[in-house]
Symmetry: D2
Subunit: 339 residues, 4 copies
Amino acid sequence: MIKAGIIGATGYTGAELVRMLSAHPDVELTVITSRQYKGTKISDVYPALAGRSELVCEAYDPETFSERVDIAFTALPHKIPMGIVPELLERGVRVVDLSADFRFRNVTAYEAWYQPHTAPELSEHAVYGLCELYHDEIRKARVVGNPGCYPTTILLALVPLLRAGIIKAEGIVSDSKSGVSGAGRGLSLGAHFCEANESFKPYKVEGHRHRPEIEEVLSLAHGADMEITFIPHLLPMTRGMLSTIYCTLVDGKTEEDARKALEAAYSERPFVRLREKGKMPDILHVQHTNFCDIGLSSDPRNGRLVVVSAIDNLVKGASGQAIQNMNIMAGLDERAGLF
Amino acid sequence: MIKAGIIGATGYTGAELVRMLSAHPDVELTVITSRQYKGTKISDVYPALAGRSELVCEAYDPETFSERVDIAFTALPHKIPMGIVPELLERGVRVVDLSADFRFRNVTAYEAWYQPHTAPELSEHAVYGLCELYHDEIRKARVVGNPGCYPTTILLALVPLLRAGIIKAEGIVSDSKSGVSGAGRGLSLGAHFCEANESFKPYKVEGHRHRPEIEEVLSLAHGADMEITFIPHLLPMTRGMLSTIYCTLVDGKTEEDARKALEAAYSERPFVRLREKGKMPDILHVQHTNFCDIGLSSDPRNGRLVVVSAIDNLVKGASGQAIQNMNIMAGLDERAGLF
Amino acid sequence: MIKAGIIGATGYTGAELVRMLSAHPDVELTVITSRQYKGTKISDVYPALAGRSELVCEAYDPETFSERVDIAFTALPHKIPMGIVPELLERGVRVVDLSADFRFRNVTAYEAWYQPHTAPELSEHAVYGLCELYHDEIRKARVVGNPGCYPTTILLALVPLLRAGIIKAEGIVSDSKSGVSGAGRGLSLGAHFCEANESFKPYKVEGHRHRPEIEEVLSLAHGADMEITFIPHLLPMTRGMLSTIYCTLVDGKTEEDARKALEAAYSERPFVRLREKGKMPDILHVQHTNFCDIGLSSDPRNGRLVVVSAIDNLVKGASGQAIQNMNIMAGLDERAGLF
Amino acid sequence: MIKAGIIGATGYTGAELVRMLSAHPDVELTVITSRQYKGTKISDVYPALAGRSELVCEAYDPETFSERVDIAFTALPHKIPMGIVPELLERGVRVVDLSADFRFRNVTAYEAWYQPHTAPELSEHAVYGLCELYHDEIRKARVVGNPGCYPTTILLALVPLLRAGIIKAEGIVSDSKSGVSGAGRGLSLGAHFCEANESFKPYKVEGHRHRPEIEEVLSLAHGADMEITFIPHLLPMTRGMLSTIYCTLVDGKTEEDARKALEAAYSERPFVRLREKGKMPDILHVQHTNFCDIGLSSDPRNGRLVVVSAIDNLVKGASGQAIQNMNIMAGLDERAGLF
């Protein structure tokens, strides 16, 4: 049994981790922490967890926390993890961090969109936890930066196509849509029911912090710096995320070539499902699962390739992928606790 | 043209008043106030109002406000209106108050559920603005206490039946359900999208402040004190309210008698629609309207009569009824600006 | 490993069975049938099931079906199972039937609300599959009539209170609300998105077929015939069901007595969660789970007791409870595959 | 008073016409027809219309229909109007057709995507009813082809930019999203509540029939044939439509130039609202209105211009624009009955 702990268990991704880890056949969830709910049973914060977890939220203390866990999930706001992770690593705890703090190889990009990085030396060694693309690195990692939700949809769709030279690096557009749970449990007018229900709108069109994360990984796949146009939108639903990605086929390449490149990349990966020709993903199909569904279409008139990918933002886009990372790090079946 | 002003224009009921009064054929909306949004165009607070109102929110000043209006709508939190209304009346402005401050004849009941009343002498003269039942009093009123949303659904359904001696006063249950807009624009976890969407629950089961309001008016209709069981619930939708009311027929009375009593009460009232036998109200039918739909059913096995009534909580349950009250006070067609 | 089969796998409850049984640690789902989708992969009917089940829908043949299963789930429209179950039993297959065909001890009541019963002799031996209340009978049953969704919410709430003499049998009202999935996958105007979304309404107020089912079991618990008032409503959401039940305390009995009776009944039952005093169930807490949450409130003014219970209509109200029944019949941990 | 009639009054756009025309200050709605609901009161088909219209659906008869109306709205499935409109015109009735039958100047394009055209000679004289762009032609038109909903969002956003030479004609992508009411009242699995709720997906990615309509009008604005990539998606909400359009600025042109071109085009048009810099449309702001909101953003890194436009698909995207067309044809204030 792997002993796991969650630091920051009372946000939506933290609670989702509690739920899934409590039912994981190879894991014992030994400790959960929360500053705000210290001393409160997690099932009093989330009554849905009653009968599934009896854990009480504790204050975080590196000493006592580390003694009880093999692996830690940090489900905290950006900036806090980079202050905590070093001491965990020192104590021999491996870490899956759900914030942005360890997603970037290029610390400068992180600092341009977030804040000064206080553990840049760790960033170099951290592994980007996109399981399907960095499987081998994750296995050996001591700290994994769990990918953002939008990047997960876009990178799983595009990286194999760029690596295989199927699509051009120029002019890529991702029109992405997220359910409201992506905004977390913190109150805001934008997530107030009467403002989000029966509503639909783009947001952060001048620049969302997931764009540099996407561009860094795409540039690595492409072998040269590249940029994309990325516009996020807010859907009137709780869970789910879908990106409709517009790109251009390299001369001589076809939709069929794109399909083969994706098949080759994911034939052994249990959580990517390629939709057959003529069929497209629907958020409904991936909700409450760790799957990423991908579909393809092209316009013979102009060489435009449309790639659509869908996930559950709280599962494959956050907590499910974090557990998938843990499974890989621990040498378990990648699917353990996720089916 | 009647000159109208709104004090507290930036909550959901205030904004709904702005929308409807801006299109009212007999009204000029001359002034709107907001403490929080002083100096801001209402269309910057509610972009939906762009192109419909050019008004800018002002700070409230009794002097300059009163000079510009014949009638004032106070769309403020409970307690504030009773401090403001006296000075408006002194300056000759008639008032429709959307808070609870002037709904009670029995100040003691108000004080038990809200706070000490600072203008009890006005409460005596204020008229309860349930248009269909207090039409004549409203016409002459200087201050009208606009009814709560739940009371509107329950009282329109029951008062004619009690007055006509069709139902017993004992054992009445109202199982009532409201859309989330009833909770207003203030942020709360209960109205956070991910908590309210795909959710349904009772709330304030130990006692909701609308219950004494309901019981006071029912007791007047009954001619003696009476009480009801009233359980409100929160629906995963923006607008609408429906009460399913369970009562017992007086011996010898029938569903048909109940129907006739309601027909007699509302045949001349344009905003109550009695559903024909076998058909029931649906919130969908009343959304964005000032209608109250009522349906009836009975169980021959036990004399149980079920009365169902539905409204849009922001219209007939608040701002629409407020305008209906203004229409009556000003001698206009009751329907002006509401169809 | 128990070998299970599903007859009628492509409705919502059938698909939910496929999903859950495919992940059940002690079950091998060997065969699924569908008249309409014969020859089609279940994952082509429900793309959400891709990567989880590779099964292809077959035509139902009693011979070949029976050879491959120990236990059959019949997820078919009422009337069809009573024609099929006898031949399954003859071949030694135990059955959990999700229709109404085997829910009634009193065949006359079934026939009054459904149609003539063609296997009345089986009805006598069938067990009503409300797991928490008929655990011992279910263990030995050859055919279990899986309860209706509304009855599950109402009976779990009331039976212990009636058995313990806490509440009166007279005057009970259940105001019940269901998500739209309760109506199944068949197309109808009432389940058309634009008619159900942002809508709320009572339906079948003149008599829903779940009422006699409820009354039969309540009468057994009470020890004498009794009736209730039951009004179902349709919620604008996919999954979930909540009943707000109004009853009257027997003189001298209290809310605390009611709480104790429920605690006594369910302290050993993993799927009923009693909410603590002052807290109420929310459909959000039980979605995608097999839990039934129950809360209590009372009005000291009049001895009214309000009992609220909530389930996921597709899980505890159908497929989850069916699997719970199978677990009990097979001597497995009741919770297997359901946590 | 203008006498108006609706042929096909019981679909969603027909019912919306009934609602709006019944409240229109300058119109008398004299006749409505329906094949399916002949002899039924419209308020029995749509209880929401009770108290607003007493009309009974009639069978359509050209003779008696024409005698009673000055202008006809045909709210029928494609193909039927082209059989009916000629006889209406002969009898002196002007027509606003809500189908696609008279939207195309190029009959060949219509026939490629729909069916053979039986009144091609009329198509030449019909006017494309995009009010803001073809105001003068509409004024004199005898038959107006009311635009499709998607084309309305895309053309209002792009035509002024193409006419002013601000954007390139190549490489335009419109990622468009529609509420479910766009699919009409006919039953289908895709519009079944449980399939559309909490769901989001692209559809008809291989080619939607609105694309040739869009391309014809864009090509006219551009002065040469052009094509776009257009991917429609289905939103889990009833009403509303938003297009996020990606295009490229002509060298030397800026977002500010685009803004000025749109301002110049719409400064006198009451129903287009340009959002100020940094703000974007939200479907919530246009629901139940005839407004089209447009917002702009650009990426200085690559000259990409993003134009976002939002409407209510049943109002500006169908019935509201049809009434706006009627207002223009009849010489009324364009806004009559629409504010």
